[in-house]
Symmetry: C2
Subunit: 473 residues, 2 copies
Amino acid sequence: MSDDTPLLAILVQRLSERAVLRDPEDQARYLSDWAGDRLGMPLAVVRPASTAELAEVVNLCGEHGVAMTPQGGHSGLVAGALPASDGSELVISLERLNRVRDIDPVNFTMTVDAGCILETVKQAAAEHDCDFPLALGAQGSCQIGGNIATNAGGLNVLRHGMMRQLVLGLEVVLPDGRVWNGLHALHKDNRGVDLKQLFLGSEGTLGIVSGAVLKLVPKAEQSRTALLGVSSVEAVIDLYVLARRGCSDLLTAFELIPRRCIELAMEATPSLRDPMDDAHPWYVLMEVAATGPVDLGVMLEQLLEQGMEDELILNGVLASSESQSQQLWQFRESMLEGQRLRGEHLRTDISVPISAIPAFVTQATEVVMAASPDCEIIAYGHVGDGNLHFNILPPSTLDDEAKHDHLHALEATLFEVLDGFDGSISAEHGIGRTKQAAYLSRLSPMELELARGIKTLFDPDGLMNAGRILPAR
Amino acid sequence: MSDDTPLLAILVQRLSERAVLRDPEDQARYLSDWAGDRLGMPLAVVRPASTAELAEVVNLCGEHGVAMTPQGGHSGLVAGALPASDGSELVISLERLNRVRDIDPVNFTMTVDAGCILETVKQAAAEHDCDFPLALGAQGSCQIGGNIATNAGGLNVLRHGMMRQLVLGLEVVLPDGRVWNGLHALHKDNRGVDLKQLFLGSEGTLGIVSGAVLKLVPKAEQSRTALLGVSSVEAVIDLYVLARRGCSDLLTAFELIPRRCIELAMEATPSLRDPMDDAHPWYVLMEVAATGPVDLGVMLEQLLEQGMEDELILNGVLASSESQSQQLWQFRESMLEGQRLRGEHLRTDISVPISAIPAFVTQATEVVMAASPDCEIIAYGHVGDGNLHFNILPPSTLDDEAKHDHLHALEATLFEVLDGFDGSISAEHGIGRTKQAAYLSRLSPMELELARGIKTLFDPDGLMNAGRILPAR
């Protein structure tokens, strides 16, 4: 492991001693992701400090036939950026490519290195009264390059779209070490096939993004948050349509939260108190935000009034201050911690058409409960994106291995229900290794052929993040 | 021409007599586009009435080695959908694939055949109080399939994005006649490489789109329009930033119009009167739109007040009724007619970073005027997209051929200036045949290799809209 291969010796010589981590202790933090369920063993971890160094590393790997694992902030959930456990793959960390290259508050764009942390990017934008609107739980550690490779989603998709909608230009090191400069800061560009689209969401299998031009928006000057108690998922969907129509394009969040999540949040954060004096089967956490002269208070009040009149809303809390709003959002964050405290459980990030959410939740709940009467279902998500985290806590009576197998079987059951709604097994997290079998089994032969063809076109030697999304050759 | 080739005989047999147009008179309307500058001569025009028929046509063309020209509403501007003049290409018109398949006002989506006319789609959406936000001059004749193939832009890009942002799913007949069903109605989907992105903007060179799932938005309940007089392009850009910040995401249009265009509009539509009692070098036509309780009047008034205080706005008209608003938009439409009345001129659809618009306009005007002191420059466009139509009316003293050559030379001069700003020679209209030479000369060898590789992967025999974007092999 610490024995130098010819490649490592050359890398140390070309880059520097500190750019190549060979000591297992130094490597540790590059070998697990946020999910924590996998560990790999790399050949080494290399940390280039510029696009030129990155290109040299990729080029050398090609010459030596060494497989590469590009890595951002290791906050992935599908083991896509973790090295295999056989010591064959070189982890290429982008963390030293962390420069904000340029901000243009008139063009509403910024150009950044791929290793910039999302939070850093947001702060740099804020200094110009702008916002980079991608918002994720992991924003303090995830990197822009990873956000691009996985086409990240998060809490603001309803208003501002996914990463694909927020990227205007890319700089990419191709698997053969050539650098593609597509760093155009153009809001509109129709010159032939849009190459950058291929790198968005392909999880580093076609090349390593080294830089990007991102789209900014004016920083919101005001926002209002409400937490609403609702009797059924059907009513939540009716309320969503009302909100889309009543709040123009100023709706920033519309989150579905089941009662059980409110309880999990209070378990995880004992300072949280039940938000209303009565309990409700479902809650909606919604937010509107604006710049300029819009009375968001009136907007939300009118919506709530209408929702109550239509008997969609049973009760509600309208935050009247920034700290009250943060308290409402605390439920959304603490409920994740509450789930984590329960140990291994099934995490999913599926999507269906928004209109199908009620039928899907009903049918999936029935089927899963029939298969495993003692499990607990936690279904929450981003209603406006049709994106649900339909998660399952296993019966606590099972031992670790039995739990794992049980959850795996339940996932297959759940995905079969999903197929009936033409849903997606991965709306956000991607395929990586974890979702590969479920993904491949649903791919048509034609789709597999085209996906393989694109992979081969960009990476004929199959060294770039091999075995993710598609099987290694 | 009317002699049947084996392919035509089979097509008549498999489809029907009326599906195959062999008579030159019947073919006439398929042989010119909106620009009117090219005429082709096809093998025949075939009009399949279903995806299955379309697939059969494509399959048969493959068997007989016949090149195909997919065609929508022939409103293109780069000769991309016109057949070559040697009688070798079969025009495949999508006009009979014109069914609205489904509308889901809860999911805010609709599923349509590719041959649906944009206006029809917008009307169908309106029946459910929704809008399909793409808005183009040609919307009464252009087809959704063409909008997808060319990644259409238009007047609403600032608020709702280009066609790429408005498509959730596609059904495509591949060059080998297989049908790819990617008609998912999912707002979020992260399963591997997003194949549909390749068909968006590739101008029918990778396959023929036969159906699509489109994203809808709630229909705006109110809008306000203003026409503002401004002293310089610099001031227009400052005003744009002010408007982006002062109007939240409710800004729908922000159009730059030079004084000359106001005059051209009044020439074309004599009923139009000068909008203000004084003339200004530049005008901004802006619009805000909303659903729900937002006071757009107050929003615009505050913006205008601030713009006047900052000495950005010299004078302005705020429409106080729908008909007054239409009258302001009439200038935008009539100025196009006014240009057309002037005969052949150079039409461009370039883009630069928004912050570079003033410097670009200054430099391009200087360089063009130095090269051709008697020409007239008409530079207008969508400021929020960085997209300018920097058009040139040639000296009226030149004869037709000299005019043509002169404009061609001026285009090359203009594009060289554009290169200095890392701009795009085609922000909207695409490459087709007309822009091919300028496109190819700016492509890096690596980009050409990748573009060719993708083309070959999808269309190894090179029969699908051959010679558009990339040269035919």
